[in-house]
């Protein structure tokens, strides 16, 4: 498709260009209208509602910065869930990301048939949907729990451990389950990235003195996969900051004394259980900001890495 322009370049009026591309607008209209209605407007509305007191029954009432004051100054649970979210995201985010890359690489080192089989096996936790609930049986606190049963039989422990009940173990157990589910869309992008590598690069590398697969990975593959690296990071950030279903299913809603709640489950608690929609939106705005920040930090790190 050629850009229409006259000899002076930019001088064709925007209106004329819009008319010229009217068919394009018609094609994007159904998606973009829905997207505006159910994603863009809700995000903007959440920012607006964060300055109100709103219970769904009456009209929202403007209360200025009060929700933000409450969040930062008067809500001890807020700090608890932020701490949980950060621990959870800072461990499962980078680890899940590295695992996605590493396993995609190792799988790519195998033959064609194995590659196909292993991709299905490693992607299975995400593919099988809500199967994560079986961790409730595997990590069950009595000796019928599979993990406890094995550990007791092998003599590592005498008493069953309350993996999902013990206040200090809940969060680490949930992180293991989250890591188990972390080979998702980003992992598939990496698998594809490895498969689309240009063989000429490897041949050239061999001539330039690449000696083993580690050097090949570090000097050739990593630098040419920067686009996949960025895309997978976005997927990983969204997954690790957004974890809620596994927490609700495995340790409860809300968790006892909010010891394993994250910002997302706390938003659900405030919104769905207590109908404090204004405050829930304030928390949501805080979470958006946190995720954008994480994305920004990662993008800059990757740029610096590439510049070196």
């Amino acid at each position: 498709m050629k850009r229409i322009s006259n000899s002076t370049g930019e001088q064709v009026s925007v209106w004329k260009r819009i008319v010229y591309y009217r068919d394009s607008y018609m094609l994007i209209a159904p998606f973009m209208l829905l997207f505006a209605l159910l994603t863009v407007i809700p995000i903007v509305a959440a920012i607006g509602l964060s300055f109100t007191s709103f219970n769904m029954l009456e009209m929202p009432r403007f209360i200025g910065w009060q929700n933000y004051q409450r969040m930062f100054l008067d809500d001890p649970i807020f700090f608890k869930v932020v701490k949980n979210t950060l621990i959870f995201a800072l461990v499962t985010g980078p680890l899940g990301y590295i695992m996605s890359f590493l396993f995609a690489w190792l799988i790519n080192e195998t033959g064609r048939l194995m590659r196909t089989i292993l991709t299905v096996i490693f992607y299975m936790p995400v593919l099988a949907g809500n199967i994560y609930f079986v961790w409730a049986f595997l990590l069950s606190a009595d000796s019928n729990g599979i993990i406890n049963g094995w550990l007791m039989q092998m003599g590592f422990i005498q008493e069953p451990i309350g993996w999902l009940i013990d206040q200090n173990l809940m969060l680490p157990s949930l992180m293991v389950v989250q890591l188990w589910m972390s080979l998702g869309t980003g992992f598939l992008a990496f698998i594809a990235g490895f498969q689309s590598m240009d063989n000429k690069l490897f041949e050239a590398g061999a001539i330039d003195g690449i000696k083993n697969r580690w050097q090949e990975l570090w000097y050739i593959t990593l630098p040419s996969m920067s686009n996949q690296l960025l895309f997978s990071a976005v997927m990983q950030i969204s997954a690790s900051f957004g974890a809620s279903a596994i927490i609700i299913t495995l340790v409860g809603f809300p968790t006892s004394q909010y010891n394993a709640d994250t910002i997302v489950t706390y938003i659900m608690d405030i919104g769905t259980t207590r109908f404090e929609m204004g405050y829930a939106c304030t928390l949501a705005v805080f979470l958006f900001t946190l995720m954008l920040l994480a994305n920004f930090v990662f993008t800059n790190m990757l740029r610096r890495f590439q510049a070196d």
Partner: protein, 280 residues
Amino acid sequence: MRAKVGRTIGGNIAVFFVLSLFGAFFLLPVVFTVVTAFKPLNEIFIFPPRLYVVRPTLANFAWLNVMMLDFWVPLSRYIFNTVFITIAGSVLHILIASMAAYPMAKHPFPGRTVLNRIIVLALLFVPAVIYIPQYVILAASKMINTYLAMILPALQSSLGLYLMMNFMKDIPDDILEAAKIDGAREIRIFFSVVMPNVKPAWLTLLIFSFQSLWVYNGGSFIYNEELKTLPAVMATISAGGAIRTGVTAAAALLLMIPPVLLFVSSQSRIIETMKTSGLK
């Protein structure tokens, strides 16, 4: 053939070892589900727990069937709801996301750059966080407790548009130009030239959309029992506690078959699409 430099036997064994170890970790819960689904009750509560079954039985599936008869809403209704929202949602998502992806990939219309930025940014957002304003909007349009409340949010998944858009960038401009010269309008070009060229991407959008809708329970948008979906049935069954372990596993096994079959049969085309997924 790929040039394999410095692949030692020791290294290959290490790769094999690491993959087997973690493969077992990733597969354990799935194996547990499959095995438990065929276990008789006395084998489920055996100590130490076993990951194999001695006398496999279909009793759990039979029980599942009996329990369904007691439901206030017939099981067929839940099955219909899940199948309906999954198929309608996925097909419509593929259609409207592809329609939008074509101009986003190929036409430099005013506003495209901004839209592109917004779509990429939206990849970050978790739906759970904006459910309150979404609820308000759906309620204002009288859509709470309707199929639309489950289907519409799935149609506008930014991931689907993003993947399709990147895939379409690789369509050669020549064939689009040729159709244009023949006098075809963009909408015809879209259906007769663009869509047939992006079949691998259809399957990719299908699998992602299918995965999320198949396990969707309606969230806070659905509270009418007759509109609830299979995951809600799962929750009811597993709420029965440890004694229902076998039945729960049987139900979970049946539920995971469709997405797994779909992925296995379309894997190579999904990987082909994901090759273009990179974020620039």
